[in-house]
């Protein structure tokens, strides 16, 4: 009886997760793939084929946008890591007690707020009539209004801003777990600050670096708001193309193919990142 009851309990616990994963994750993605390999030959008539993928590779606008999105996302990830690491190190290793909590909170608060609001803030700062343009004019550094919005640098600023928390938090967590005595041992054995960083701190922080990079890359690649609002209508971001195919052009087949390519790219980069750093997905993401 008891064994039966516990088996029943087990299946009751198994049901929701299977329902969730199968109905909302696995089947939709299979469906997406099926649609991406169908070609419309007439009203409500389809044939299986790779024409949508062929269209992607033959039309330069498509694959260039794809490559551009990938490269800019990688750049944004690298930039976020470089900017975020010192901050995480400062919070984890150079502050204690209340200061540490406060700084950590100050990092978190902006990210409880909608991405839209944050991007809106950058628009107010960067646009021609914006705060920075006005400040530069009143300082006499420029003679007329300057448009800082609608270029790649603005997209970069926005992307880094949007995702830096997801770099800082895992880094703080891993760096926090690094015992100070390991750093001291490094110095004691004659290492310079650079050597301690390279040989002790960074290898220890690797899981945090990998998980931070994966999340930031994902967020940048899948971002829609920041490139559209800060980069302008012609910002050419791949998510924008997916949106156009789905909502404006109503070409779901091509849109699905695009979606699948985006998914493939992000999976590939994550796979390579995990392999290079010899981490597993479960270890890096499960601790988020």
């Amino acid at each position: 009886m008891r064994a039966d009851a516990s088996r029943l309990g087990f299946y009751l616990l198994l049901a929701p997760i299977l329902l969730w994963l199968v109905v909302l994750i696995i089947l939709p993605h299979i469906g997406l793939f099926v649609v991406s390999i169908s070609e419309k030959v007439g009203p409500r008539e389809y044939e299986t084929g790779f024409a949508n993928y062929a269209a992607f590779f033959t039309e330069p606008l498509y694959w260039r946008t794809f490559a551009r999105t990938a490269i800019m996302s990688i750049a944004a990830t690298a930039l976020t890591l470089i900017l975020g690491f010192p901050i995480a190190y400062y919070i984890a290793k150079l502050t204690r007690g209340r200061t540490k909590t406060t700084l950590f909170l100050m990092c978190m608060i902006p990210f409880w707020v909608s991405e839209l609001v944050r991007t809106f803030g950058w628009m107010i700062l960067l646009r021609e009539t914006g705060v920075i343009s006005n400040a530069l004019q009143s300082l006499g550094l420029v003679s007329g209004p300057v448009e800082l919005l609608y270029n790649d640098a603005a997209i970069m600023v926005g992307l880094v801003y949007t995702s830096i928390l997801f770099m800082v938090v895992p880094l703080v967590t891993t760096l926090d777990s690094l015992d100070d005595s390991l750093i001291e041992a490094g110095y004691d054995l004659g290492a310079s600050s650079t050597a301690v960083m390279r040989e002790i701190v960074i290898p220890h922080a690797m899981p945090g670096i990998v998980s931070g990079c994966i999340v930031v890359f994902m967020l940048s690649l899948g971002n829609y708001l920041t490139p559209i609002l800060l980069g302008g209508k012609d910002s050419l971001w791949f998510t924008g193309m997916i949106y156009t195919q789905f909502i404006t052009r109503f070409n779901w087949e091509l849109g699905s193919a695009f979606g699948f390519l985006l998914l493939a790219l992000s999976s590939l980069v994550i796979f390579v990142g995990l392999k290079l750093s010899r981490q597993s997905l479960t270890d890096t993401m499960g601790r988020a």
């Binding site: 616990l13 929701p16 994963l21 994750i25 993605h29 010192p86 150079l94 707020v113 809106f120 960083m197």
Partner: protein
């Protein structure tokens, strides 16, 4: 580079300056959004035309304040409705998942765990279109077969809720599992030993222990649901949640009423976030 290892004063000073600059960078966009909510001008930009509360309480065009702007108020209601459902579902399923992963061993557990993490690495837009495509084809098939209409499977609030639920559940699972792992099972055994039933022990001992994590994940779910854009954008129907409404207004050209909404959002989410942290801190 730790306090016990001496460093040159100049290097320390530079480091501090960098950290300060970083926090200015963090605070700047939110600060300007808040400040311009009080600018007596129809554009959220300089010059400063004087202080006003019209963008909150104004009634006459063009100064229609948030509290009198129908479309915004309605979309806040929509967002709240969606967030409640998403948080409820995500926490319920997340709690089940936590018990499943922490308390049970079964074949394929690690595979299932990896599948559970997948929503974290699927871009939100892709998640949105995959659910859109799938539900539409299901709807098409059903409608062809039965001749009835299945509006629930067409873009609309149900799909928005399902779409957000599909990835927020992962976060809820992780937060609640982490707490459940810290639970000492001998406490539950003690309760059983003292005559409690299995369910009674879970209800009286384990669930109260999990409460901080449950509350925290509910708050996180609400915050994520409110600010979600990518997945929602693909699944939204005629009733649009707040972020979508704001995005449409922003594309048309922004007025300080958006700053006012943003300010309220900032206040609400900061309060909610801090409350959940306080709650967690107290219970720990």
């Amino acid at each position: 580079m730790i306090p016990t290892v001496p460093q040159p004063a100049f290097a320390k000073w530079c480091y501090r300056a960098y950290v300060t600059a970083f926090f200015v960078y963090l605070a700047l966009p939110l600060t300007v959004v808040c400040v311009f909510a009080f600018n007596n001008s129809v554009f959220p930009s300089l010059p400063w035309e004087g202080f006003t509360l019209a963008w909150f309480f104004g009634t006459e065009a063009p100064f229609v304040g948030v509290f009198n702007e129908r479309s915004i108020l309605r979309s806040i209601g929509t967002s709240a409705f969606v967030a409640t459902w998403v948080a409820g579902l995500a926490v319920a399923v997340g709690t089940c998942n936590a018990f499943l992963f922490v308390r049970h061993d079964f074949r394929g557990k690690s595979l299932l765990y990896m599948l559970m993490l997948l929503p974290l690495i699927i871009p939100g837009v892709v998640l949105g279109i995959s659910i859109l495509v799938f539900s539409s084809s299901v709807a098409n098939t059903l409608e062809d077969a039965t001749g009835l209409w299945f509006d629930g499977l067409r873009p609309g609030l149900i799909l928005v809720i399902l779409g957000q639920f599909s990835f927020i559940t992962t976060f809820a699972t992780l937060v609640i599992s982490a707490r459940l792992e810290k639970f000492d099972p001998s406490l539950e055994e003690a309760a059983l030993n003292l005559g409690a039933s299995k369910w009674g022990a879970i209800r009286q001992i384990t669930l109260p222990f999990l409460l901080p994590a449950i509350v925290a994940s509910a708050v996180v779910a609400i915050l994520m649901s409110f600010e979600n854009f990518n997945t929602t954008l693909m699944l939204v129907g005629s009733d649009s949640p707040l972020t979508i409404t704001m995005f449409d207004k922003l594309k048309q050209g922004s007025t300080p009423v958006l700053n006012a909404v943003s300010l309220l959002l900032i206040l609400a989410s900061a309060t909610l976030g801090l409350l959940s942290l306080l709650f967690q801190g107290k219970k720990r």
